[in-house]
């Protein structure tokens, strides 16, 4: 189990992006539509446990029942539960380059009670803290929306 030094060892490099077409389906589609047309976050509620499902989906995994069409609009305000920021740039497979976005990422608990991982506008680590209140900043142009939660640029710190 030792490597023999000296022999030339070859590698083959393949950098070929793999395209895909991904369908939201009906339930996520509703979230996408509301975000795109109304800058609004919606999800559906389980008819049995009455909890909000997130993201919207056809089945409540816990109750194992059809989730149905009990739709709820949620506030786009929330509280930062956890956050982190990249110090070392990582490869972003969606763009095929090192991650260029300088914004910290955070787990945000929306006031509706569901969790979302998204960016924070605030880049100064000194000003980040758990429990800070934030609100979504939406992309202004409708033609740039249509990407679900990607229609939100980041979450901005708010005073209440």
């Amino acid at each position: 189990m030792t490597e023999k030094p000296g022999q030339e060892l070859l590698t083959v490099e393949i950098a070929r992006p793999r395209p895909y077409r991904w369908s939201t389906g009906k339930y996520l589609g509703r979230l996408y539509k509301e975000a795109m047309e109304n800058k609004r976050l919606v999800t559906n509620r389980c008819p049995k446990c009455k909890e909000l499902l997130w993201p919207p989906q056809a089945v409540c995994g816990r109750c194992k029942v059809e989730a149905g069409e009990d739709w709820v609009a949620m506030s786009d305000k929330g509280t930062v539960i956890q956050y982190t920021y990249l110090v070392f740039p990582l490869w972003d497979p969606h763009y095929g380059e090192k991650l260029a976005n300088p914004h910290p990422t955070a787990t945000i608990k929306l006031d509706g009670g569901v969790y979302m991982v998204h960016f924070l506008e605030e880049k100064d680590p000194q000003k980040l803290k758990e429990g800070m209140r934030v609100q979504a900043v939406w992309k202004e142009k409708q033609e740039e929306r249509g990407r679900g939660l990607g229609d939100i640029l980041y979450f901005r710190t708010i005073e209440e």
């Binding site: 993201p55 110090v87 070392f88 990582l90 972003d92 969606h94 763009y95 679900g148 990607g150």
Partner: protein
């Protein structure tokens, strides 16, 4: 009632960041040969071959097809499993179920990953669905970074405690010839000086990307008793899944949701009469991607009370010489060939029970051990091993 299943052979490769001297299947073959030699079997004796790997991590698709010759699978049945971080434990479950069902008497169970091929963090990022838009791109590292922050604030643990976990891991790894990172770390300061990767995780706080493989030979009770006087019995095995996005990807940041680790541990302990895990189990090999996560997992597996994981570290309880050793092999933070990582946990726990762990054999006698696996989004597999049933 299911048949009893024993581990009768253990083999692993050494681990490195790159293995240009072998292709993927040749690397896996090294572990297979080692396991067959350990079990004193030949390839022809094996009836079925089960493999695990996260093929998107290295971009080698259908690897199980490519490696038929190297893993003694030609003309034989078997399956590959791919369940994220838990793959290498899911394959243990798969082999266990087939042999327990009486379908095979001798089966090979193999985990592997050759991470010099692709970019694992990028692949994990790619697995985030477009639901979240694009670019919330920190792979698994960002999730564990956030969790470290929460653990720090919730439990009162200091960065020094995380460094002590890292030092413990390195002491184990330096005694384990198969480990990847064997750094000879001496002080807390050394770790504090390593740069931030994803705040608050430093480079030395997180697991490496390793190339390596681990193979186990499973035998039915009848075969096992004939073959060896040191069978290691799979006493029980449990898998618990969680739906995605309930909270964090690798656990709940709020402390309000139940972790799958807790559900798995409580069920496993209950059905095996374990009332005091640190007394009834002798040691553990757990899947800890970061030093912070290790302390947090102590609590989820009920090795201690809530917010006291760091105290076990402070008291040296989980050291190789301690009362309840955890990851004497150096663990995941020293060696992480993803598809093989949970298989190595089982292998290392089995070696401890056999007394064959060599330099990193723990001081206390080990008759019962637990091996755990973790994967996104917060799935858990636990395997309970015993010297006698």
């Amino acid at each position: 009632m299911a048949n009893r299943v024993a581990i009768v052979g253990v083999g692993q490769t050494y681990h490195r960041s790159t293995r240009r001297d072998v292709n993927q299947q040749e690397m896996v073959g090294e572990a297979v040969r080692a396991a067959l030699a350990d079990a004193q079997l030949s390839a022809k004796d094996i009836e079925a071959v089960f493999t695990s790997n996260m093929e998107t991590f290295e971009g080698i698709y259908l690897p199980d097809h490519l490696m038929v010759d190297e893993v003694a699978a030609f003309g034989k049945p078997g399956l590959k499993v791919c369940t994220g971080g838990t793959s290498g434990a899911s394959v243990v479950a798969e082999g266990f179920h087939f042999v327990a069902a009486g379908l095979f008497d001798l089966a090979l169970v193999i985990g592997f990953e050759k991470q010099d091929t692709g970019d694992t963090t990028a692949a994990i990022t790619a697995s985030v669905t477009p639901v979240w838009g694009k670019g919330v791109a920190t792979g698994a590292i960002g999730e564990f970074a956030k969790q470290a922050l929460t653990y720090m604030q919730r439990s009162g643990a200091k960065e020094e405690h995380a460094c002590m976990v890292r030092l413990k891991a390195d002491r184990g790894a330096c005694r384990n010839p198969y480990a990847h990172l064997r750094l000879g770390l001496k002080s807390v300061e050394e770790i504090m000086k390593s740069g931030y990767l994803v705040w608050p995780l430093r480079l030395l706080d997180f697991c490496p990307q390793s190339c390596g493989a681990c193979a186990l030979v499973f035998a039915s009770e009848e075969k096992a008793r004939k073959m060896t006087n040191k069978p290691v019995w799979i006493a029980d095995l449990i898998t618990v899944h969680q739906e995605p996005f309930r909270a964090g990807s690798f656990g709940d940041p709020t402390g309000l949701e139940t972790y799958t680790q807790e559900v798995a541990a409580e069920k496993l302990y209950k059905r095996n009469g374990i009332t005091n895990p640190r007394r009834d189990i002798c040691m553990a090999e757990i899947y800890e991607p970061s030093n912070w996560e290790e302390m947090s997992l102590y609590e989820h597996f009920h090795f201690c009370e809530k917010n006291e994981g760091w105290k076990l570290v402070e008291k040296g309880i989980t050291e190789i010489e301690g009362e309840f050793p955890v990851n004497p092999s150096g663990g995941v933070i020293a060696t992480n060939p993803i598809g093989a990582t949970p298989t190595i946990r089982v292998a290392e726990a089995a070696l401890q029970i056999r007394g064959d762990a060599g330099e990193h054999q723990v001081t206390r006698d080990v008759h019962t051990a637990v091996a755990t696996a973790l994967g996104g989004p917060n799935w858990t597999v636990m395997t309970l091993l015993k010297r006698s049933l």
